[in-house]
């Protein structure tokens, strides 16, 4: 599995021509042959169920609606939760021997590598994947899963309560004693991205980082988005590991929040989706994977300030150009072994 570098994120031009063609065709209401074929089959299935822990509830619904607008007659049942809960639901399905999920999306890449290893994913390479940024294209060389969400996780602060000059500059700053009772963070037992963040921070600073954090009594939510609500309300003043989309969206609605791009690195979480082998609506699922790689998906998610997967869809307003951000990410192997350890360590340190 290849690690995404910043350079790769910005050399997606190769796919641009194809992407542009696909877009024009969609605009002309004539689907490319591969989509038309899938659409015909998907219409007979009528729907698909999408377990997702990637986009926020509101943007997931918007994406589902955009899909049905583009492919009338195929409904999307959005089951949005945190990534670990989505995986828990999938595991419960498996244990009960019932197939209900057509597309599985999470922010914890180890879910997808596990499902691939266990032979529970279907191999499928969307044709439209040739149009996405080069770096996003080949997460799994065997095509069992593909990136459907590029998560940037960073910090934020409440501007009404903290002057810009005093705001923490780095992850390291945030555990300073002066932020006692001020910090909010999600939970690695629920949020896949927070699990990945913990793996990163443990790698950078050791588990002592979290022991120190514990002493300043952070407010622990479940989703990585939870701190944004806490900041909006002024309940807490510094949020750790908040997703850029939800934060920018909240800022656009007039809440007194500002992003912090940590000097020790903004966390990049390339998050995959895949089709379970026993998906009850396999054609609709494949069509959805095509859609995820097409402009329609990136545009619908972009309305909620999420990063596009394609160069022909503009980046969200208000975000720093990605080539000016210092990006960091743990390797897939580090996440696979790290997250289960982190969950235990976290619960021992924080009690929940």
């Amino acid at each position: 599995m290849t690690k995404i570098t910043k350079r790769q994120l910005f050399t997606g031009a190769a796919g641009f021509a194809i992407g542009g063609t696909a877009m024009r065709q969609a605009a002309a209401q004539a689907l490319p042959p591969h989509e038309a074929e899938l659409y015909a089959a998907a219409k007979r299935e009528g729907e698909l169920t999408w377990y997702s822990g990637q986009l926020s509830a509101e943007s997931s619904e918007a994406v589902g609606a955009a899909f049905t607008r583009q492919y009338p007659g195929v409904k999307v049942n959005v089951v949005r939760s945190t990534s670990q809960v989505a995986f828990q639901r999938l595991s419960q399905d498996v244990r009960a021997g019932v197939a209900q999920c057509d597309v599985f999306s999470s922010t914890d890449i180890s879910h997808s590598t596990f499902l691939k290893r266990e032979g529970m994913y279907m191999q499928y390479r969307p044709k439209n994947i040739d149009g996405v940024l080069e770096a996003v294209r080949n997460l799994d060389p065997d095509d069992y899963f593909h990136i459907s969400y590029l998560g940037l996780y960073l910090m934020a602060y409440n501007t009404a309560k903290v002057p810009a000059a005093d705001a923490p500059k780095s992850w390291k700053d945030a555990i300073d004693g002066k932020w006692k009772n001020q910090v909010a963070i999600g939970h690695p037992g629920y949020s896949g991205a927070i699990g990945t963040l913990c793996v990163l921070l443990r790698k950078l600073y050791g588990w002592d980082y979290f022991k120190t954090l514990e002493r300043s009594r952070p407010q622990i939510g479940r989703s990585s988005q939870d701190p944004v609500t806490m900041l909006n309300a002024g309940e807490r003043t510094v949020g750790l590991g908040v997703p850029i989309g939800t934060t920018l969206y909240s800022m656009s609605r007039g809440n007194p929040i500002e992003l912090i791009y940590p000097t020790d690195g903004t966390l990049l979480v390339p998050s995959p989706s895949g089709i379970p082998k026993n998906a009850p609506h396999p054609n609709a699922a494949k069509l959805f994977m095509e859609f995820a790689a097409a402009p329609g998906f990136s545009k619908a998610a972009g309305e909620f300030f999420n990063l596009p997967l394609r160069s022909d869809v503009p980046s969200p307003a208000g975000s720093r150009p990605i080539d000016q951000i210092k990006l960091v990410q743990p390797t897939t192997e580090e996440i696979e072994t790290g997250v289960p350890e982190i969950k235990e360590l976290w619960r021992d340190t924080f009690g929940v």
Binding site: E58, V79, R222, G254, N255, R347, V352
Partner: protein, 556 residues
């Protein structure tokens, strides 16, 4: 020819075994099975109790149960006494408060109290900061006392209902006797009246304790930020990958033992004393004149009402129309977006409302039907061993809802029954969970109907079933509607029994609310809660029309 009653008796046994005994026995069996192979092992118990953290969660739940029931007694008993025995003004208001606290789902109350008592931004603390000039918190909802308090605010109606109906039966003569011997009102109440209704208080305490231990939503919403792990959130962790139903089952067993011990000790505590307050001589009941004290009592009822109903609902209402609830009441903070999102842009929200309504209606109908038949057969002594039936119908009363749900998952999720993800598994779980409520109300209703009316019909040639349909059922109709509505309301807000059983298309409002609560989006949660409450209110209104204004306050 076989009496139809015998056939129904057999059918009921089968139904009750399926609904109640099956899941519980499966749970017990699974707790001794090795994950994967299914061979016998004690290992699940070692895993379930092998970590200090898991034991701590159990301890937290027990302390929380005790604390919440103690607080609930504190809220409820003075109110019940005031309404039943005194000349306190505004009794109708108390009725409204109790009803309101019962109807508001506990997790919604929890969100309301986060908005009220969040340490930095909660309304109460903001006002306190302004008055005191400090920035320290007056009240902090994210704490153990905060958690116990919020739970008690939504469970005290159970104790109120129990105690009030018991107090209604105590005649003034006993208090008069104490007064003649020189005791004042306070002493007579303390030494005579309250001890006489002690069995009801104890029954209420046990019920609140069980409800608290089984509660999932409130501990997830308040307990996680407060860093308090309890049994239910721990059970949830056992369902993380790999799904360890076996360990969860082992972990749940002591809960069942504790419950049985509680019921046992209740029997012991009540065994050696007499609590007879109803005798053949019709006692007179006069309201106690309290003088100025009646205003103090009224104040207490008003305070509980403000804490349990008025304050949380007001902040929820504000939040549901706000862009960001922390920005308070201002014109530029006003939006309808939270409602329009749920109604027009959230595919699942409307479906979940529909699901909630029809699952709850189906469960209430099934529960009342089964309960009525069981109650009838037991009451009229139509078959030998009717006691087995009533035992099975009452058993879920002492099984925490979340434990029952895990039993259902273990027994009926996978093939051969294969109910996972269907509406049926939710409806059946709700039916089983709330069967005791329906049974208690049916029994009470049937006791009030003398068999002679049925006998008259039988003599005139009517069969047993026709007699029930045309004579008995119409006579108990009001009580049945009341019982149906109570089951409907508690089922419509049930979270802990649903959380392990829902599929993508069978999510109920409570589950969707729980999913939405993960991201902490209180504005949307408040709007969804508003929709849920509006629906419930409409139904309560219909219930009052059909079953009488006090249908929820009669002893269940």
């Amino acid at each position: 020819m076989i009496e139809p009653a015998t056939l129904i008796w057999v059918a009921l046994i089968v139904v009750l075994l399926f609904l109640v005994a099956g899941p519980m026995l499966k749970l017990l069996a699974v707790s001794f099975e090795r994950l994967g192979s299914g061979t016998f092992t004690f290992n699940n118990y070692l895993q379930a109790y092998g970590r200090a953290r898991y034991l701590e969660a159990l301890g937290n739940s027990l302390v929380l149960g005790v604390a919440s029931s103690a607080l609930a007694v504190l809220f409820a008993v003075p109110m019940a006494w005031a309404v039943s025995r005194t000349d306190m003004p505004g009794k109708a208001l108390v009725w409204f408060v109790v009803m309101g606290a019962f109807v508001v789902p506990p997790y919604l109350g929890a969100i309301g109290w986060i908005l009220l008592a969040g340490p930095n931004s909660g309304v109460i603390n903001t006002v306190w900061h302004w008055i005191s000039g400090t920035d320290s918190a007056l009240v902090n909802i994210y704490s153990f006392p905060g958690l116990a308090f919020v739970i008690a605010l939504h469970s005290f109606p159970l104790i109120f209902i129990f105690v009030k109906s018991a107090l209604d039966l105590v005649s003034s003569e006993m208090e008069d006797a104490a007064n003649i011997l020189g005791a004042g009102t306070a002493a007579a109440t303390r030494k005579i009246t309250l001890p006489l209704v002690w069995p009801s208080i104890l029954g209420g305490i046990i019920l609140v304790f069980l409800e608290t231990v089984a509660l999932f939503g409130t501990p997830a919403i308040i307990g996680i930020p407060a860093r308090i792990n309890v049994v239910t959130t721990q059970l949830w962790q056992f369902f993380e990958y790999p799904v360890r139903v076996e360990v969860a089952a082992a972990y749940a067993m002591p809960l069942l033992l504790i419950t049985m011990a509680l019921i046992g000790s209740q029997k012991l505590m009540l065994a050696r004393k007499g609590y007879v307050s109803q005798t053949g001589k019709g006692g007179e009941r006069r309201p106690i004149r309290l003088g100025a004290w009646r205003w103090a009592l009224f104040g207490w009822c008003g305070l509980v009402g403000a804490l349990a109903v008025a304050m949380p609902l007001l902040v929820l209402l504000q939040a549901s129309f706000a862009k960001a609830w922390g920005r308070g009441l201002s014109f530029d903070n006003l939006t309808l977006n939270n409602y329009t999102f749920l109604i027009f842009r959230h595919e699942m929200a409307l479906i979940s409302i529909w699901n909630t309504l029809w699952y709850s209606a189906a469960a209430a109908t099934l529960a009342v039907l089964i309960a009525l038949l069981v109650a009838y057969i037991v009451n009229r002594r139509l078959v030998p061993f009717g006691g087995v039936l009533s035992f099975l119908a009452m058993a879920p009363f002492v099984i925490p809802g979340i434990v029952m749900a895990i039993g259902f998952y273990a027994a009926y999720a996978a093939p051969p029954v294969a109910l996972y993800g269907t509406a049926a598994i939710l409806i059946l779980a709700f039916t089983a969970r709330f069967l005791p409520i329906a049974f208690a109300s049916s029994t009470a209703a049937l006791r009030a109907v003398h068999p002679e009316m049925e006998e008259a019909a039988r003599i005139l040639g009517s069969g047993r079933l026709r007699t029930i349909a045309q004579i008995t059922a119409p006579l108990v109709r009001k009580s049945l509607i009341g019982g149906w509505l109570i089951v409907f309301i508690v089922a419509s807000r049930e979270l802990s029994a649903a959380i392990f059983l829902v599929g993508p298309k069978t999510r109920t409002m409570a589950v969707l609310l729980y999913d939405l609560s993960e991201a902490g989006n209180f504005e949307q949660l408040a709007a969804f809660g508003g929709i849920l409450l509006t629906i419930t209110m409409v139904l309560v209104g219909i219930g009052m029309k059909l079953a009488g204004r006090d249908f929820m306050l009669r002893r269940m």
